[in-house]
């Protein structure tokens, strides 16, 4: 091939911008903010990939998508091919392209990014995923039934990823969901303007086409236990991906006032229960006029932006550290700023004040400054003496993380760690043989893609446990470890068998 080798000087220098709804207009609706790339934009952006030989982006991806290969397919306008490459490792590109924190993953280590802005890998992934949904593509491989049944607890990202891998390996997979619709945090947590429900439903429909069955309204642990799944329900293995889901509060005075709620409650009412369409939907929500959201993670950004769309006059983010330490995706903070969220960095709430009807009236805060680094490596915020102040608010939303959900601990013999999360080994096996766990219920609150990575890792563990051949070859280093399994060199494998025989 006589193609000229691409260099950092020959590629398009500017990152291709993506069309977005106007900030002022979108702050009043729940339609998606980013319109995504069109074919020309995607092709131009794909040209920016240098196809560098060391492929840091692949290592930066928690599920190891072959990024240069799919980007190359886009440059060739072979979009179905790009889709097939992505779905080799990630069945949910339309979701991950939207919600992954790419700046800390693939894009964060992109070679182009050392000199220019990195290749917009997330937007390209979304482009491919959306096109697949639009065109009705699905990569349904030929599946040889393996004769095993696997039960999955929780239909969020971890459960979906695990279910997909096991279904492809020929297992009969049933996914149990406690809520009335599958999707977990993608449905109840992430708002439509960031991840439209139709996208989730389309991806779930693809999983159904793999033969996966979703059973909603099923609270595992209470309706039947993990142990019963292995005995009476006849599952050969179980994966637990229930999510962390037990929101934290700060323990400051006034938290039980009316108008104080967790971000989970606000988002669930608004997204899953569609309280934003009250009274056409029955779930009520009393939107605040001046909303304060405590925290600066992705959930906090969602709560802030949902509040804006519900018609608040002022929406304030309260975070005790500075913008640099905020855990949210850069894009989310940027979008929130554009839409008019008022950020109060280095501010910590100390008391919520109520009126005579026990409704929130104001929030008392103290200014913080950054001191010495703490165990997380971030500089610890310390209060500035005498800097207390009050501001008026009628709704306070806590988005400061979650604790471990206690239901499975209460109802099974699963060993938990000190913090109440499910204890697992390196392969995500729990203390019960055949039961694997992954995602937030193991690690505490993390990201969608990390949960998917955990779901896939557990699927590999389950396949090994069931004695199924694992045809996935995702991680180079994993291949390396297989080649020296039991300390025997790969080439000596036959020799070892001979000796044993």
């Amino acid at each position: 091939m006589a193609t000229r080798k691409k260099t950092i000087r020959t590629i398009p220098q500017e990152r291709t911008p993506v069309q977005e709804q106007d900030p002022l207009e979108r702050a009043t609706n729940f339609t998606e903010v980013s319109c995504g790339y069109n074919v020309q934009e995607a092709a131009r952006e794909a040209e920016r990939c240098l196809m560098c030989p060391d492929q840091p982006c692949v290592r930066g991806c928690p599920v190891g998508i072959d990024i240069p290969a799919f980007v190359k397919k886009i440059t060739e306008k072979h979009f179905h091919g790009a889709y097939d490459i992505i779905t080799d490792t990630n069945l949910l590109p339309a979701i991950c392209g939207r919600v992954c924190p790419q700046e800390n993953q693939c894009e964060g280590v992109c070679t182009v990014g050392q000199t220019l802005e990195p290749v917009a890998i997330g937007r390209l992934e979304r482009f491919v995923g959306d096109m697949a949904i639009r065109e009705g593509w699905a990569s349904i491989p030929y599946i040889e039934p393996a004769g095993f049944r696997v039960g999955i607890v929780g239909s969020g990202p971890a459960g979906m990823a695990c279910a997909a891998d096991l279904a492809k390996a020929g297992c009969e997979v049933v996914v149990y969901e406690a809520l009335h619709e599958p999707g977990g945090v993608l449905k109840y947590g992430i708002p439509d303007f960031r991840l439209p429900n139709e996208v989730i439903d389309a991806e779930i429909q693809k999983l159904r086409r793999l033969g996966i069955r979703f059973e909603c309204n099923t609270l595992v642990g209470r309706l039947f236990t993990i142990e019963q799944m292995l005995t009476e329900l006849g599952f050969h293995a179980v994966f637990v991906g229930t999510g962390a889901g037990y929101p934290s509060f700060m323990g400051i005075p006034g938290e039980s006032l009316n108008g104080v709620l967790s971000a989970n409650e606000l988002l669930t009412r608004c997204n899953l229960m569609r309280a934003r369409d009250f009274p056409n939907f029955d779930t009520p929500l009393m939107p605040g006029k001046h909303v304060a959201v405590i925290g600066a993670g992705n959930t906090a950004m969602d709560a802030l932006r949902v509040s804006l769309r519900l018609g608040a006059d002022g929406v304030h983010c309260i975070y005790r550290r500075s913008k640099k330490e905020a855990p949210a995706r850069v894009e989310e903070i940027h979008h929130a700023e554009e839409e008019g969220v008022d950020f109060n960095w280095l501010t910590s709430p100390i008391e919520i004040l109520g009126d005579k009807d026990k409704r929130v009236r104001a929030l008392r805060c103290v200014k913080m400054e950054l001191g010495a680094p703490d165990e997380s490596g971030r500089r610890r915020p310390v209060p500035v003496a005498g800097s207390e102040f009050e501001f008026e608010t009628d709704m306070v939303v806590f988005a400061i993380g979650t604790n471990a959900n206690p239901i499975l601990g209460q109802t099974s013999k699963l060993a938990l760690n000190r913090r109440g999360y499910i204890a697992t080994d390196g392969n995500l096996a729990t203390s019960i043989a055949g039961v694997y766990a992954g995602g937030d219920i193991v690690t505490g609150a993390a990201t969608v893609i990390e949960a998917m990575g955990a779901g896939r890792m557990a699927a590999r563990g389950i396949k090994a446990y069931l004695g199924l051949r694992d045809t996935d070859s995702i991680y180079e280093d994993e291949l390396a470890s297989i080649s020296t399994r039991f300390g025997i060199n790969g080439e000596e494998h036959g020799f070892a068998q001979l000796r044993i025989g």
Partner: protein, 306 residues
């Protein structure tokens, strides 16, 4: 084990109306009928646009494969269910059993107190204690004789039954706290009191037993959404701790519960709930007048009856 989830919802197999406001629904759910224990609750959605409402399980029958709910039509959803949920119709979602089952401990003599909407859910507890060999004193309270139900069911599982009505039209005149006082006076050796009902009633029960230092368990039913610990809407103050009623309860030590906090939090969505109820009643009125003409589409949602 049979597949528990029919694709089209959960069938209502029996219904009984105790009064204008109180009705019983028996719902087919074989797995839950087997798993349910006294003190647990379910979350019900009538249709796909409905809200999730928590309801304490009033009875369960593993042999028949059904669970029983007794519902008071007080808000939009419960009134709408009263109008629509006839035998053979299906509920869109029923999930449970939720919450930690009541600990039917080694108590030798217990008082099971149910008031108003709490009468039905106290029944499985009374039966549970009876089965564990305890001496069970039932105290059930209603506003008047017309609202009474399940007296026979309670007589069958209680060694003594004290019926209380506000107007004295049946049993003794007075609140259930009067019944508790009577029981305490007659039995100095009561180990435990279990009370279910409106928060103000449970508060009264806890205050009645406090001077006697009798262990008192109450079942809390605050506002919740998912019922699995995820939203935190149901948080309640228990002593100096904050607990989630859905996964840490619903049973708590009545002497530690901050009932005033619970009651002020119960009215959080009152304005919206009132609005929904008025809208619903207006729609019903309109439908009532228009019924002769044609099927009215003003209830802007698809029927989920089928």
């Amino acid at each position: 084990m049979p597949n528990n989830v029919p694709a089209s919802g959960y069938r209502i197999v029996a219904r009984q109306d105790f009064s204008d406001v109180t009705y019983l629904l028996e719902i087919e759910h074989p797995l839950m009928a087997r798993a349910a224990r006294p003190g647990q609750f379910v979350i019900v959605m009538e249709h796909e646009r409905g809200e999730r409402i928590p309801l304490t399980i009033a009875d369960f029958d593993a042999a028949k494969g059904t669970i029983t709910l007794v519902i008071q039509a007080v808000g939009k959803t419960t009134k709408e269910m009263q109008a629509n949920c006839t035998v053979g119709t299906r509920l869109y979602a029923v999930v449970g059993p939720m919450g930690i089952p009541s600990r039917i401990g080694a108590a030798k003599k217990v008082v099971c107190v149910g008031g108003g909407l709490g009468v039905a859910p106290i029944y499985p507890q009374a039966r549970g204690y009876r089965e564990s060999g305890a001496y069970v004193i039932g105290v059930i309270g209603f506003r008047n004789r017309d609202l009474m139900f399940w007296e026979d069911k309670f007589r069958a599982v209680c060694d003594e039954l004290i019926v209380c009505t506000d107007d004295g039209s049946a049993g003794i005149k007075g609140l259930v706290t009067e019944g508790i006082k009577q029981a305490i006076a007659a039995h100095p050796d009561i180990d435990e009191v279990v009370a279910i009902g409106p928060p103000i009633m449970m508060k009264g029960c806890a205050e009645t037993t406090r001077p006697h230092k009798i262990k008192t368990i109450v079942s809390l039913n605050p506002v919740m959404v998912d019922g699995t610990g995820m939203c935190g809407g149901c948080r309640v103050k228990i002593g100096d701790q904050v607990k989630f009623a859905c996964v840490d309860g619903p049973d708590f030590d009545g002497h530690l519960v901050d009932f005033d906090d619970l009651m002020s939090r119960l009215v959080r969505y009152k304005r919206a709930e009132q609005e929904a109820l008025e809208r619903f009643q207006e729609t019903c009125r309109l439908r009532g007048t228009a019924e002769t003409e044609m099927e009215v589409t003003s209830l802007d949602r698809p029927s989920t009856d089928g």
